[in-house]
Symmetry: C2
Subunit: 356 residues, 2 copies
């Protein structure tokens, strides 16, 4: 790989200037010849203000370019329309799309959205506390180990909603949470491959969100259940990572196994890597091997072969999580609470019937 670049990066200068303090409610009051309280009434649309007074105040407001100080408002009124999302990742499709749904919903509701990335270096409790200090609510994306850990440590008194993987049947997270039934989706995807005539379905896993040995995550779980109820062998899952590189590594091994004719992947990036490894090994997809991904990332429809995958409504998940948080934040706010769409298997080119 050769790298070239007759290029540069640049930046323009910044311009200093004589800042002058923003006008306050009292400045406006003085300019309009009324008390500050009257100004407050005007900016809050209080009914009992004489029309003429209101006009005078309005005028002063525009002349002075007054804007109500959001910080002071929050302090005095106690209402805080800001929420912050805690997530370990912002780039992977599932996370980014969830974030987008969250942003959309909070914007629609007039809330402000903050993002704080979780890392292993930072102290989790400290991070959570400082996020909670902003005063608004919290949304935790618990798709992975770090997010799930954060979830466990959110103090009970801070308003928080979570978006998580499907919890084990029967159990439910200790917090308000939303999830999609990816367990069932994995089951359906696996059943689909079985129905296509494959002997069994191999699995390239995304990392588990829990540290416990017991749970390997709903996707792995769903695939296992489907295989077991079909009475076929359950090959050990492989994979150690989220990205295409990890998929490639796992794919290389699977490519050497002539028995492996059907592979389910924990996400589309992994699937992409698997596809590539298979290609390098000379195994054709879907003629020799079928591959199914997960998440339906935007590019999955455009790779060749296009990727059969499970579409997940991450944006809907984000919106739903916001809805949950909102009802927690102000309980009289009875939002319609639109549920996210159910996962759906999208049939494309990468999975096909077994050819002996």
């Amino acid at each position: 790989m050769f790298v070239t670049g007759h290029t540069r990066s640049g930046s323009s200068a910044d311009l200093p200037q004589g800042q002058q303090k923003a006008a306050s409610i009292r400045d406006v009051a003085q300019a309009a010849g009324v008390s500050y309280q009257t100004v407050s009434r005007v900016i809050n649309g209080h009914p009992n203000v004489r029309e003429e007074t209101r006009k005078r105040v309005q005028e002063a407001i525009t002349v002075l370019g007054f804007r109500r100080n959001a910080t002071a408002f929050a302090l005095a009124s106690g209402v805080n329309r800001s929420i912050t999302v805690l997530t370990s990742n912002t780039l992977l499709h599932g996370y980014a799309a969830t974030l987008q749904g969250l942003e959309e919903a909070s914007r629609a509701a007039g809330h402000t959205l903050g993002v704080r990335v979780l890392t292993f270096e930072d102290d989790l409790d400290r991070t959570i506390a400082s996020a909670a200090d902003t005063g608004g609510g919290l949304v935790v994306i618990g798709f992975d180990r770090l997010g799930a850990a954060a979830l466990d440590r959110v103090p009970a008194h801070v308003p928080c909603a979570a978006v998580v993987e499907a919890p084990p049947p029967g159990s439910s997270p200790g917090l308000p949470a939303v999830w999609a039934d990816d367990r069932e989706a994995a089951r359906a995807a696996t059943a689909h491959l079985l129905a296509l005539g494959h002997d069994t379905v191999h699995y390239v896993a995304i990392p588990a969100s829990t540290g416990s040995r017991r749970s390997v995550g709903p996707r792995a779980e769903g695939r296992r259940q489907a295989l077991e109820s079909a009475g076929v062998a359950v090959p050990e899952p492989s994979g150690k990572g989220w990205d295409a590189q990890a998929g490639y590594e796992a794919g290389k091994k699977l490519a050497r196994n002539p028995e492996a004719t059907a592979i389910l992947c924990g996400n589309d990036d992994l699937a992409l890597g698997v596809l590539r490894a298979l290609h390098h090994a000379g195994r054709r997809v879907p003629e020799d091997v079928s591959v199914i991904g997960f998440d339906d990332a935007p590019h999955s429809a455009y790779v060749t072969p296009s990727l059969t995958t499970v579409r997940m409504d991450f944006q809907g998940l984000g919106r739903a999580a916001f809805g949950l948080l909102r009802t927690r934040l102000d309980p009289d706010q009875q939002a319609p609470a639109v549920l996210p769409a159910a996962p759906a298997l999208i049939l494309r080119e990468s999975a096909g019937p077994r050819r002996t």
Copy 2:
């Protein structure tokens, strides 16, 4: 395309509870038998507090679970460590990666990061004003029309930095801004294709960030310059969108043109669509047609053929933008201001020598 899904989405209940107001500085003071000011001194690490007093206060703090109210702090002290990013998109690679760099840098500096998506429906001025009301600084991602428009309307008194496309030589944005030299990068990519023996280089464009007819964006510009200085024909750019779908449409047309043996794309998504269209038309890449993308999205290395592309240091751009804003926010803060890496042409499989 068939869609299936024996699945559901669920959500757990939320738990009510007897909130009790958080402890204030005065509560702590009372508990420790000191004045509130002494508590303030302790939490701010002021030196002149007797050791024993400090200990007593600290104890009261942990007992009461005191956390300094961030809103009140911001109001009283006037320091506001929060910045908000204005962007029209959060999912496209360039945006998402820039956002990530921004988050990383602001987190490292102890700032809070907000994200506000710009839409055509919302009133731009109102959006900007409300973002500015949060008190901190603004960062505008001006890669597209909407972002660039927002940039123009940011009032001079609000601290703001921007990340933009490379401005025309000589000119520079009216605000502190960072950019990468994608004009030069496009020139280099084009020159590379020419050097491979192609007669000329077609271009599938991303939408321009400016409304004016004159400017079509630095990437288009750089490719045009390279072609002109080589004295070859300059085919009209195509493309009307950012995504693979748009690339596919443009690619379909180009595939019908046997003269088109080299295609530069405004981003990797477009390139992916072009690749797919070419594939459908039976034109092989790189044997029949060479394709080069832009941005080096994470999956570009793993599609087949892997995509030759221009790597852009978006995260570095984000970090640099934050640095700019930071110096604007508190001028004594002389950050090292690490410049982003220059764009680099990454040679992979999708571009090769002209055959025949």
